[in-house]
């Protein structure tokens, strides 16, 4: 019996081998993603759907590999690039803003611009313009937006209603809520970092760093010092702290959902998760990102991640492009938005039934999308070389201003020195 089974197995193996040799071998590509939980399950589903439909038709099989958080995935890519092991790179990768510089200089990067030369028939006009712009660097379109979000203001509507307050629009409005500070409850907790500071400076009409926030060339210095924008923001921030409504620590989702922090500024993509955790204990309100003052522009830049490609020969490049287009198509984008809280990066997705039904049930989802559309396109997210250092530098300097009661001028000098120094050092090593 055993022998028979073995014989059968060998035969079927031989048959399948010869069958493979005869039939067209599918093109296999690898997709690295950083989507977990709800988003992760959806991404796995899209991969399976693609393999069963478009992939089957075109002879493409995608293998999805979860690579952990964006930071893990980016540091893995950096490691491979420094070791020049280009074969190890995937065909398609989900990348956040911190990976832009490395990717754009990768020898085997296959940018959207290159893909459009290979496929001139492609029409990308339905993609959301601000989302597309976020993934450009020095004039090149690096990737296509996949998980798109923006920073919004979450507030505890139940608590604010009870005290007779409307949704806060500006930092001053938040300051007026100081009376709600009570035992174990803070009104607002935040420390500005690279993207949030850039948003507030952008509202004041200024970039954080030169070369249009590092998108049109390498950032080498701060560009918010001489125009006074940094000083203006810091003054407003200090006033907010003086009002007592601001706690000088990072906002915490746990505190907010536990009802111990009333206002939080965070990514719009957290809506679904937050509603699940609040579990009906209070009503969640969402408002556009806080403005510095009444006179400043409103809005915040795009955040999230895009899909980039690497060159592994013509067949795999073509397969990768087909897969990227599938993931950014209207139907997938609408479905992904409905399941997570990310915003559809494809305009056609906004007209889809899925999205419309979602908006009808949870109007809060619309806030982020509207904000994205209304944000002036001069506001760009920041790309700097020493990204982690820069990020924590901003946090520490501004937090020190409040803790050590430094004057606004002193803080501006401090930041010019610290952050400017990092940019100069980086520029020196990477001319």
């Amino acid at each position: 019996m055993k022998k028979l089974t073995a014989l059968f197995l060998t035969l079927s193996l031989l048959l399948s081998l010869s069958g493979c040799a005869l039939a067209e071998e599918p093109v296999r590509i690898v997709f690295w993603h950083s989507a977990s939980e709800a988003a992760g399950a959806l991404v796995e589903k899209y991969v399976k759907d693609f393999n069963d439909t478009v992939g089957k038709e075109k002879g493409i099989q995608v293998e999805a590999v979860f690579q952990g958080a964006y930071a893990d995935s980016v540091s893995k890519m950096n490691g491979i690039l420094t070791a020049k092991q280009f074969d190890t790179l995937p065909d398609v990768m989900q990348l956040d803003a911190t990976g832009k510089v490395s990717f754009s200089s990768a020898e085997t990067a296959y940018t959207v611009d290159q893909a459009l030369i290979d496929h001139p028939e492609t029409d990308l006009s339905s993609m959301l313009a601000p989302a597309m712009a976020n993934w450009q660097l020095k004039g090149a379109q690096l990737g296509l937006p996949f998980a798109t979000s923006t920073t919004v203001t979450y507030y505890n509507k139940t608590a604010l209603d009870a005290a007779g307050f409307a949704a806060p629009k500006t930092l001053t409005d938040v300051g007026a809520l100081a009376a709600l500070n009570a035992d174990g409850v803070t009104v607002y907790a935040a420390i500005p970092n690279t993207p949030t500071l850039a948003n507030w400076l952008g509202q004041l009409g200024s970039d954080l760093v030169n070369n249009h926030n590092g998108t049109e060339g390498s950032a080498t210095e701060l560009s918010c010092i001489e125009n006074g924008a940094l000083a203006e923001f810091l003054t407003a921030w200090k006033a907010l702290y003086a009002s007592g409504a601001l706690a000088n620590k990072n906002g915490s989702g746990d505190e907010f959902v536990a009802g111990r922090q009333l206002i939080m500024t965070d990514s719009s993509s957290k809506v679904a998760n937050m509603m699940a955790k609040i579990d009906g204990r209070f009503e969640l309100g969402i408002a556009p990102y806080l403005k510095v003052s009444d006179s400043s522009a409103s809005g915040a830049t795009v955040s999230g991640s895009c899909l980039v490609m690497f060159d592994h020969g013509d067949a795999r490049k073509e397969a990768a492009w087909a897969f990227v287009q599938y993931l950014t198509s209207a139907s997938v984008q609408a479905d992904f938005a409905a399941g997570t809280g990310y915003l559809p990066a494809n305009k056609e997705a906004q007209e889809s039934e899925t999205w419309q039904a979602l908006i009808a049930e949870y109007p809060v989802y619309q806030v982020g999308l509207n904000q994205l559309l209304e944000t002036p396109d001069t506001m760009r997210s920041v790309t700097v070389g020493p990204s982690a250092d820069f990020y924590y530098g901003i946090i520490n300097d501004i937090s020190d201003m409040l803790e050590s009661d430094l004057s606004v001028e002193e803080t501006v000098d401090l930041m010019a020195n610290d952050l400017g120094g990092m940019l100069a050092q980086y520029a020196k090593a990477n001319p």
Binding site: A35, G40, Q85, A258, M274, K277, D279
Partner: protein
């Protein structure tokens, strides 16, 4: 000589201290049975409402190929620990039983490896391992931990304190170095070797940064990478992470309990007299 009462007070005190030490683990394990809403509810509790909420464990096993991760980690931990100890044993043997030129310098050269923070060596080692074509292999994960200077040091201390005439007698009987190591030295050092094995195994089992860097595919991942992948972009779901941590702990704890017994048994056979 001690009074019975004193003895029991001592025992009770020790067990209480033990509970205090283990409390964080107990707390973590209990948290794994909580639902997300239960987790953020005020006031916080230690015990879950019920032990019926198993969704967190379900998430761990459905979202990740946990068994595969266990297997990978086990293979890497066992083989790299054995190699590490073997290499350290040979080196310790050379240092204790031979006199040779450059002995002192070589000893401090090897001991010096302990003082170099591994985090500072990662990038270059990654390049070495990838040039050797060992990315995504068990050997690639284990190879950077083959140098066990502290194990070498402990074994040397142990050999130094062992009775001197043993080797001379063995040599008189015509027993060569390899046979002496294999049949006399190794059995003689068993308690220490088991302790060192346990320590090195656990360190390898718990390794995080390096395996994360050198594995690119799901098939080669280790448990620690798996559980940290449970944290999400939408915010940490503590309960799922705690479930993952609990699951990852079990094999290490089992091995520990098993080896502990062996170590105490061999240990009490040696120096201790009631």
């Amino acid at each position: 000589m001690k009074s019975k009462k004193g003895e029991w007070t001592l025992g009770a005190l020790a067990v209480c201290l033990g509970c205090l030490v283990l409390f964080p683990l107990f707390y973590g394990l209990m948290g794994a049975f909580k639902s997300p809403a239960e987790f953020v509810a005020w006031p916080p509790t230690v015990l879950p409402r019920s032990f019926g909420y198993l969704k967190n464990f379900e998430t761990v096993f459905t979202q990740l190929p946990m068994l595969r991760y266990f297997w990978n980690t086990l293979v890497v931990s066992v083989f790299s620990t054995v190699i590490k100890l073997a290499i350290a044993l040979l080196a310790a043997y050379a240092f204790v039983y031979f006199d040779f030129a450059g002995k002192k310098a070589l000893f401090f050269l090897l001991l010096g490896t302990m003082m170099l923070p591994p985090d500072t060596l990662t990038i270059t080692n990654y390049q070495t391992v990838s040039h050797l074509g060992l990315l995504d292999t068990y050997l690639g994960i284990g190879i950077v931990s083959f140098v066990g200077a502290s194990q070498m040091f402990m074994l040397r201390q142990h050999f130094l304190s062992s009775p001197k005439p043993i080797r001379e007698a063995a040599q008189m009987d015509g027993c060569g170095d390899v046979r002496f190591i294999a049949f006399i030295l190794t059995p003689m050092s068993m308690p220490l070797l088991l302790t060192l094995f346990l320590q090195a195994f656990v360190i390898q089992w718990n390794a995080y940064l390096w395996p994360l860097l050198v594995t690119n595919t799901n098939e080669m991942r280790t448990v620690q990478i798996g559980i940290t992948m449970l944290t999400t972009l939408e915010g940490t779901n503590y309960e799922t992470v705690l479930a993952g941590a609990a699951v990852a702990l079990i094999p290490a704890v089992l091995l520990f309990l098993f080896l502990r017994k062996a170590i105490t048994r061999t240990m009490s056979g040696g120096a201790i007299v009631g």
